[in-house]
Amino acid sequence: MEILTAWLQGLPGFGGMSDQGLFITGAALMATLMFTVMALCAIVFTWMERKVAGFIQSRYGPMRTGRWHGWAQAVADMLKILGKEDIIPAEADKGLFVFAPLLVLLGSLLAWAAVPWAPGFSAANLDLGLFYIFAASSMVVMGILMAGWASNNKWALYGAARGAAQMVSYEIPLALATIPVIMHVGSLNTQDIVVAQQGGILNWFVLRDPFLFIAFWMYFIASIAETNRGPFDMPETESELVAGYHTEYTGMRFAFFFLAEYANLFLVSVIAVMVFLGGWWSPIPGLDFAPALTFVIKGVLMVFLNMWVRWTLPRVRVDQLMYLCWKVMIPVTLLCIVGSGVLMITSGALG
C-alpha cells in the first residue's frame, strides 16, 4: 500500500493530490488488483483442477476448448455460468439468499488484504495481519450458514450445518498450528513473518524444528477442511446433499460461491507459504530476483498439493471428521506449541 501510494505520487497529475485522495485511489487500485487476482485464481484453478483430476485418473481432462489442452475451458464455463437464468426459489428468504454469496466472497476477499506478495507490498500492512486473516476468513462460515438457511431446502440446510460445524472446528487447529511460528517471529505482522525466514530453505519455518514440521502438516490438513474440499467435503457431498449449501443457487450467485471457493483455496495455500514455506524467499539464498513470482509459484504448488489430496483420498464421515479435529489435530497442535517453545528456550533463541 505504501509502495503504491508512493508510486501514485510520482505519476503526473497525482502529485498535487491530498494524502486522503492518494489513499483512496491507492486502495481502490489495490482492491481492483486483488479482485482481479481472485477472479484469475478461479479461472486458472478450475482448469488446473480438471487437468490434475484427469491425469490422476489416467485421462486428459478438457482438451477441446482453445488450442492447447483446453486452456479456454474455464473461460467458456464462466461465460456460460454468467448467461444462466438467475433463480430465487419462491419459498426462499430473499434478502439472505441474495446477500449470502456476497458475504462468502467478501470474507475471502477481505482476508486477501493482508497477504504479503513481495517485500513491503501487501494491500494492508497490518500489525495483526495473521490474526486479521483468520478473523476475516471466518466470515465465510456465516455466509455459508446464511445460504443454507435462506435456500429453504433441506439439503442446503444440512450442507450448511455441516459446513459451519466443520469450519468452526477446523479454525482452531488452523490457527493453533501457526502459533509456534508466531512465537518464533514475535509478531503477527505478515511482512515480519516472511522476513524472519530469510536465508534459504533451511531457515523456512517448516524445517526449523520437528514440531514446526508437524505444525505445517496440521495447518495443511486443517486448511483443506477450511476450504470444504475433499476429503473433507462433507458440506457439498454430491452423492447425498445434491450440492450442499449452494444447491439452490444459479448463474452469477453460484459463480460467487465458486469464485470464493477457489479464492479461499489459493488464500490458505498462500498463508501456508507465508507462514511456513518462506514466503517470497527462494529456496537458495541469493536468488530472490522475483519475490512476487516466487511467492505465487509456491502458492500454486501448494494448490497442486491440495488438488492431489482431493483426488486421492476418499471422503471421511462426519464423526471421523470431528474425531480428527478435536481428538487428534488439536492435541497435536498444542503439543507442537509446547514442544517448539521448549526447543526455543533450550536452544537459547529467547536470549
Binding site: 490434475v52 484427469g54 491425469f55 490422476i56 485418473q57 489416467s58 485421462r59 486428459y60 482438451m63 492431489w308 489430496v309 483426488w311 486421492t312 483420498l313 481428538k327 487428534v328
Partner: protein, 198 residues
C-alpha cells in the same frame, strides 16, 4: 491409548500410499484416445458400415434376399441384356450388422468397412443411396457389362482363366473413374456431414 497412536500411524501411512499411487498416474500417458483426432485401429474382421463397390455389383439381389431385416433395397428396370440397376440402398435404421450379405456376395462387391461413426441428426438420412440413376444406370447382364467395359466376375478357373486377365485391365481404367464419381459412397458423404455438424 496404544490404539489411538496405531490409528494415527495407520491413517497417515495409508494416505501416503494412496498419494504415491496417484502421483504415479499423473506422469503416465493417459489411456484416453482423442477420438476424432486419434482412432482405434479396428481388428480386420470388424463389422462396420457396409460398403458396396458399385463397379462390381451386378444386382443379382442375393444380398437383399438374404438380409434378415430386409434393409437392402435394390431396384432394376428392363429385362435380359437390357436390365439395369436403378437403385441400390441400405437402410441403416434396420441393419443389424449380421454380415450375411457380405458372406454370400458372389462378386465380392459388398463388404464390411471399418467405418463406425456415422451419426446423423435425422434418421431418414441413414438410408444410404449407393448410386444415382440419373447419372448412370448400372448394367446387370454379364454380356452387357462386358460390352460396356464394366468389371465382370471371372468365370470358374477352367473356362475363364485366359479371359480374366484380358477383361480386367481394359475394364478397369474405364469403369473405375465413372463408377467412383457416381455412387453416393457411404464413406465420403456422411463423414463429411459429421465433420460440419460437430
Amino acid at each position: 491409548m496404544v490404539q489411538y497412536f496405531q490409528d494415527i500411524y495407520a491413517a497417515v501411512g495409508s494416505a501416503l500410499v494412496g498419494m504415491g499411487v496417484t502421483i504415479k498416474h499423473i506422469w503416465k500417458k493417459p489411456v484416453t484416445l482423442q477420438y476424432p483426432d486419434e482412432r482405434q485401429v479396428m481388428p480386420p474382421r470388424f463389422r462396420g458400415f457396409v460398403h458396396n463397390d458399385m463397379t462390381k455389383c451386378d444386382s443379382c439381389g442375393i444380398c437383399a434376399k438374404l438380409c434378415p431385416v430386409d434393409c437392402i433395397y435394390i431396384e432394376t428396370e428392363g429385362k435380359g441384356k437390357d436390365r439395369y440397376m436403378t437403385r441400390y440402398a441400405i437402410d441403416y435404421n434396420k441393419c443389424i450388422w449380421c454380415s450375411m450379405c457380405t458372406e454370400n456376395c458372389h462378386t465380392g462387391s459388398i463388404t464390411m468397412s471399418h467405418d463406425y461413426d456415422h451419426s446423423v441428426y435425422d434418421r431418414r438420412t441413414l438410408v444410404y443411396e449407393f448410386m444415382d440413376p440419373t447419372q448412370q444406370k448400372i448394367p446387370c447382364h454379364r454380356a452387357t457389362r462386358e460390352e460396356l467395359g464394366w468389371w465382370v466376375e471371372p468365370k470358374a478357373e477352367k473356362k475363364a482363366a485366359p479371359a480374366k486377365p484380358a477383361t480386367k485391365p481394359e475394364a478397369k481404367p474405364e469403369a473405375a473413374p465413372e463408377a467412383d464419381a457416381k455412387p453416393a459412397s457411404p464413406a465420403d458423404e456422411p463423414s463429411g456431414d459429421k465433420g460440419e455438424d460437430k
